[in-house]
Amino acid sequence: MPEMNTSSLPDLIFTILFFFMIVTTMREVTLKVKFVVPAGTELEKLEKKSAVSFVYVGPPTDQLRAQFGSSTRIQLNDRYAEPSEVMDFVLQERQSMSDQSAQVISIKADQKTQMGYITDIKEVLRKSWALKINYSATHRN
């Protein structure tokens, strides 16, 4: 029986590999805050990934706690930020988007966060005309 020619098999697998590399997204930032998002029932999926910017809110992670304490922090990209810096972040993110009116800000905040932080962020978002927001959550029944 003649052996099957498998010399094209690597190419085939490489093609699948490249497909996955392009389609999926790598985790974009290293988290510096830890958070457990609330659970809700009326959730919607975040549709366009490219139009979403994330704002993380929570206490510093265990490794960083010794350095930064345990009070609530806001993380934008790879660093801690003040609420006032959110505006720059939002405008910068908007610049890099193709459909700027579709911008969505996803707020990933810890359950135990005090509303003061969230309200500050919301006020800044309002001022920078980023009106579509999304409170990140997990699904519950």
Partner: protein, 200 residues
Amino acid sequence: MAKKKRKVPGLNASSTADISFILLIFFLITTSMDTDMGLARRLPQPPENEEIKQEMKIKERNLMEVRINAQGFLWVKNGVINDFIPEVRELRNIAKQFIKNEENLSSLPEKHPINIPLLGMCALTDKCVISVQTDRGTPYNMYFQVQNELVAAYNELRDELSKQKFGRAYAGLSDEQKVAIRTYYPQKISEAEPKNYGGN
């Protein structure tokens, strides 16, 4: 000198497939395919002038206030209820009753006859507003649950109406039908600037 043509032996490439398989599996594991979920909300437009704070003139019967204090306690005030409520879940039915005003009570939102395409003449409580007020110390989770219940109240009302009128759930309607239902039950959840309730 023996002139022998030496043939270069071919590299054994049979393991390349295995290597690329390992790479493939590595990428499958490290990349995130998970879809992010969340409660979508829309913020009000920024005030045009900082000094002139828009004075919202809302009749008392059209307003339902939900206040969450720093301890996470919930206080609801509308025409029929003015009390602390112990469970967030109760908020859904209170909100539904408020928005619907089935018996046309004078203490609940007033109704206007409006002609909606596809639905005909309807009496709407389109002037009603639910106002959520929080303290700076309010736990985020409590606020989220309140928002969730209010959105749930609207979603349930829209579902009930679309089942009654079109015989299908809201999600299965055509775009025109959805617009009609949304006109019937416009979502009006306002968020006032935070105040101090019950101190920090």
